[in-house]
Amino acid sequence: MRFAKLWQMVIMTKSPSEGWVSRLLRDGLPVAVMLAATLLIWYIGAVWMNASGAIERVLPHDSPWNWQDLLAATLDMQRPVLPAPHQVALDFWSSLVDWPIDSPRNLLFHVAVTAESTLWGFVLGTLLGLVLAVLIVHSRTLDRALLPWIVASQTVPVLAIAPIVLVILGSLGFSGLAPKAVIAMYLCFFPVTVAMVQGLRSPQRIETEMMHTYAANWWQSLWLLRLPASLPFLFPALRVGIAAGLVGAMVAELPTGAVAGLGARLLTGSYYGNTVQIWSALVMSALLGLALTMAVAGVERLVLRRRGGQT
C-alpha cells in the first residue's frame, strides 16, 4: 500500500487533479504517433538497406523471384544491415523469457551487471562532483586553478583511453567492478561539478548577506542556504550524469574482457555477426538509460515534494 502510493508519487507528472485520461491523450498520443512513424520508417529502411544483401546472399541466383520474395527475405535476414523491428522484438523477448534470469543469455543478467557499475560510478561521481564543487566555491585558488582543467579533462577522450586506464588501475590492484565504476565516475562527475558550482553560487547576494547578519559560520551557510538552493541545479545534472555514467560503464566493459554486461553483449553481438543481438542490446541499453534517468527524476520529485513542491 505504502509502496503503491510511493510509486504513484514517482510517476506523477502533473497535478493530481488532472484526469489520467486527458493526460494520456495529451502526452501519450503524440509519443504513440511518433513511435508508429518511427516503426514505419524502420521497416522501410530495413527493406531498403537489406535488399542488396538479400539479392546477393539469400535469394536464389538460378531461379526467378518476385518482389514478395524480396520483401520477405529482407525482413527475415540472418545478417541484416538493419534488422526488422519484429526480429529485434522477438530476440529481445526470447532473451527475457526463454532463459533463467541468471543465464548470460538473458538480457536482464547483463542489465544487472551494467547497472551495478553504472550505479557505483554514479554514486562516486556525484560525491566527487559535490566535493569538487564545494571546494571550488569555497576556494578562489581552486576556482581559478582547477575549474579550467576540469573543463579540459572532458576533452580527453576517456572512452579512447579506457583500456589504458584499466591497465593502470589494474596495476594498482583495482580490478573487476572498480575500474568500470571509475570510468563511469569520470563521465558522471563533470556535469555534477559544473551544475553544483552554479547552484552553490545561485543564492542571491541578499540571501548570503542575510546569513552574514545572523553571524552564521561557513558550514551553516553551506548547509542551510547553499546546498538547499543548489538542489534545482543538482537534479538535472544528475539526470545527465547517470546517462553519461551508463555510457562509461558500457564502454569500460569492452576492455575488461567483455565478460558480461550490455556493452559486452553489444561487442560480442558485433563480433559474432549477430546484428539482431546488437539491436536488442541497444534497445535494452536505451531502456536502461531511460529507467535510470526516470529513477533520478522520481527521486527529484520526492525530494522537491518534501520541500514543498516548488523550487
Partner: protein, 275 residues
C-alpha cells in the same frame, strides 16, 4: 569640505538626551573602487541614533542610504571615520547579534515553511528546536500570521511575505531593527496597513529602528527623526526631528501638521536633488 562640516553640526546639535546611543557615526566615508573611477558613496557622515528612536533615511536613488545601513550592519567597511554600534564596532555588534536586518525583498527561503524561515536565525544561534518554535510562533502571531506557519513562502501574498521577514528579524529580539525599503515592492493599501502595524509594534516595544524609504509619507508617518540625504557624494542634507505625537494613526496623514513636515522633507529633498 566645509559643507559637510556645516551639516554635521545639525546632528551634533541634538545631543544624546533621551537615552544611550545605539548608533554613533563620526566622519564616516565609504568609497567604492570601480573600474573607471572611485565612487564616493558616503562622505563625512555624522549621525547619532539614540536607543528607542525611529529613524528614517530618505533621499534619491544612489544617495547612499543602503550603504549607510550596510555600514552599520557590518556588511560594508568604511574607508575613513568611525562607527560604533551599541558602543562597540559593527563587527562585534554583528557577532553579538545586536541587530535584525530586513531587506527590501523578503528573502525567504522557498524550501522552508514560514515557521522554518522564522526559526532559521534562532537555529543558527544554537537554540533548541522546541525553544525556537515557541519563540517563532509568538513572533508570527505578533505580525498577524498565526495559522500560516505551515505554508511555504510562495503561498503567501507579497505583504504577508514581508511580514514573515519582519517576524524573522524580530525573532531573536535584537536591540536594533534595520529595515531597507521593506515595503518598496508592495501596493499602497497593503503598505499602509503594514505601516500601521509597524507603528504599533514600535509603540509597544520601543526598539531602535533604522528605516530606509523612498516615500515621504511613509517617512513622516513612522519616524521620530527623518534623515534626508543627497547623492554624489552621499551626504546628509538635513535631519528633521518630527513634531508629531508618538501615537499615530493613518488619519494623521491628512492633517496640516503632517503635510507641513512632508513639505519640509520634500523641500530638503529638492535641495539635495541637483541633477
Amino acid at each position: 569640505m566645509n559643507n559637510p562640516d556645516n551639516l554635521s553640526i545639525i546632528s551634533q546639535l541634538s545631543p544624546p538626551a533621551g537615552g544611550r546611543l545605539a548608533v554613533e557615526i563620526r566622519k564616516a566615508s565609504v568609497v567604492y573602487q570601480t573600474a573607471d573611477s572611485p565612487v564616493h558613496a558616503l562622505e563625512n557622515i555624522d549621525l547619532n541614533i539614540r536607543e528607542g528612536e525611529f529613524v528614517s533615511l530618505i533621499g534619491p536613488s544612489g544617495c547612499g542610504k543602503t550603504t549607510l545601513m550596510r555600514v552599520i550592519a557590518d556588511l560594508e567597511h568604511i574607508s575613513a571615520g568611525q562607527v560604533l554600534v551599541n558602543g562597540v564596532s559593527p563587527h562585534e555588534a554583528r557577532l553579538a547579534r545586536a541587530y535584525g536586518y530586513v531587506f527590501q525583498a523578503p528573502a525567504l527561503f522557498p524550501w522552508r515553511t514560514v515557521l522554518a524561515n522564522v526559526t532559521l536565525p534562532l537555529q543558527i544561534q544554537g537554540r533548541t528546536k522546541a525553544d525556537s518554535k515557541v519563540i517563532a510562533m509568538a513572533h508570527l502571531e505578533r505580525v498577524g500570521l498565526q495559522g500560516f506557519e505551515g505554508k511555504y513562502p510562495w503561498q503567501l501574498s507579497g505583504g504577508m511575505q514581508q511580514r514573515v521577514s519582519i517576524a524573522r528579524a524580530l525573532s531573536f529580539e535584537p536591540k536594533i531593527l534595520m529595515m531597507d525599503e521593506p515595503f518598496g515592492a508592495l501596493d499602497e493599501i497593503t503598505r499602509d496597513r503594514l505601516n500601521e502595524q509597524l507603528q504599533q509594534l514600535w509603540q509597544r516595544e520601543r526598539r531602535t529602528v533604522v528605516f530606509v524609504t523612498h516615500s515621504i509619507a511613509e517617512a513622516v508617518y513612522l519616524s521620530t527623526k527623518i534623515v534626508v540625504m543627497s547623492p554624489r557624494p552621499g551626504r546628509i542634507v538635513k535631519v528633521i526631528d518630527s513634531p508629531l505625537p508618538d501615537e499615530r494613526h493613518l488619519g494623521l496623514r491628512d492633517t496640516t501638521e503632517f503635510i507641513q513636515v512632508a513639505h519640509e522633507v520634500r523641500e530638503a529633498l529638492a535641495d539635495g536633488h541637483h541633477d
